[in-house]
Symmetry: C2
Subunit: 219 residues, 2 copies
């Protein structure tokens, strides 16, 4: 493909992915309509099937696009970085259709015949990197294994958001995420680091919603 | 109703609930067939609709029967009781169709148009009782609020089992549950209680699978 053609293909793929996310977020897998997705994206059905093959393939792509929706703008490292990622996630889950649909499809995937842990593994990798960095910086208690802690945080976040979704449409998810860290930090971090980590929900705000733009590792 | 009729009605309801759980566990909500459930239970369709009205009503009943499937046989109290309940849960989720189907339906309920937190609230009540008892016994750190901790543990367990289900059919769920408590106890319990709590996965065994029958609060 020539460069302009390739760029157009990438843009088309993104349009379809976003339209699919909106449709899946609103209606779930069974209720979502390929015709509606094509209309929302303003593309042809041919273009959709060129990029995604099937409705299930499209759902998988949305599931795996979740972590791309998270970019904490605060420059932080190690354990504070992990906390910041979860605070952005808690906030964006209220507004970002790609993240919302990805989480919904990953949780409900059994209902449409998928058993695919890859979106969870993607989160685990990102969180594991923060925790390995935290270990190198001496932030973790010696018994806290970065990969096992990452796996637990992925599971805990998944369930906490699901419960909050059922109770109140995730309105208090930031507060629940802060509380999770209050409970977890004493078991994960050495005491002076646990005391220094900043758990202000405002850290989850982004430029485009008028939030903080720069920070540091707290303390 | 006369007493024998009433007893028969209770037994019929239980037969249907168990048959429905097996069918939902294997096939999910959309795939489950009322005809198959009636066959499995050995009852008439009329009896099923007398007790449950609709497929969705049957699914709700299975969701809310979950916590009845858990009875730790070890006589423990407070925080150790809470830990023991989660260890029995982790083990029974591998074998008990009522628990398996209840958890599956509660997680996937969005796919069939339900938004019902009551099965999670049921767990929260049970866990909250253990934690209030723990607070009265002086087991909790002063900043650990029993109801908020219970809500977090319900969410965390939900997500940890979902992730384990996708990775390996929950084969290592007991190990993941023990690890959850290793991470959480320092943030919840006063130090000498955190050290005393027993986290042996064998505590989740029951009489009928050759497990321990009596214990104490450990340590």
């Amino acid at each position: 493909m020539s460069r302009p053609t390739q760029e157009r293909a990438v843009r088309t793929r993104e349009l379809i992915l976003k339209a699919a996310a909106e449709e899946f977020d609103e209606k779930g897998y069974a209720g979502a309509s390929i015709t509606k997705i094509v209309d929302r994206a303003g593309v042809t059905a041919g273009a959709l099937y060129f990029h995604f093959q099937s409705k299930q393939g499209l759902a998988s792509a949305v599931m795996n696009a979740q972590s791309g929706a998270i970019e904490p703008l605060i420059g932080s490292e190690g354990l504070q970085r992990l906390v910041d990622i979860t605070l952005v996630w808690a906030r964006q889950l209220q507004v970002d259709p790609v993240l919302r649909a990805g989480v919904r499809l990953a949780v409900e995937q059994g209902s449409f015949g998928l058993q695919d842990a890859s979106s969870y593994q993607g989160w685990r990798t990102i969180m594991g990197e923060c925790l390995h960095e935290a270990a190198r910086k001496g932030e973790l208690r010696p018994e806290a294994d970065p990969d096992r802690v990452a796996a637990f945080v992925v599971g805990a976040c998944t369930g906490v958001q699901l419960y909050a979704q059922l109770l109140n449409g995730r309105k208090d998810l930031t507060e629940r995420t802060v509380h999770m860290w209050e409970l977890l930090l004493p078991g994960i971090a050495v005491p002076d680091v646990a005391d220094r980590i900043e758990l202000d929900g405002e850290r989850g705000k982004r430029h485009d919603d008028g939030g903080v733009a720069d920070g540091g590792t707290g303390g």
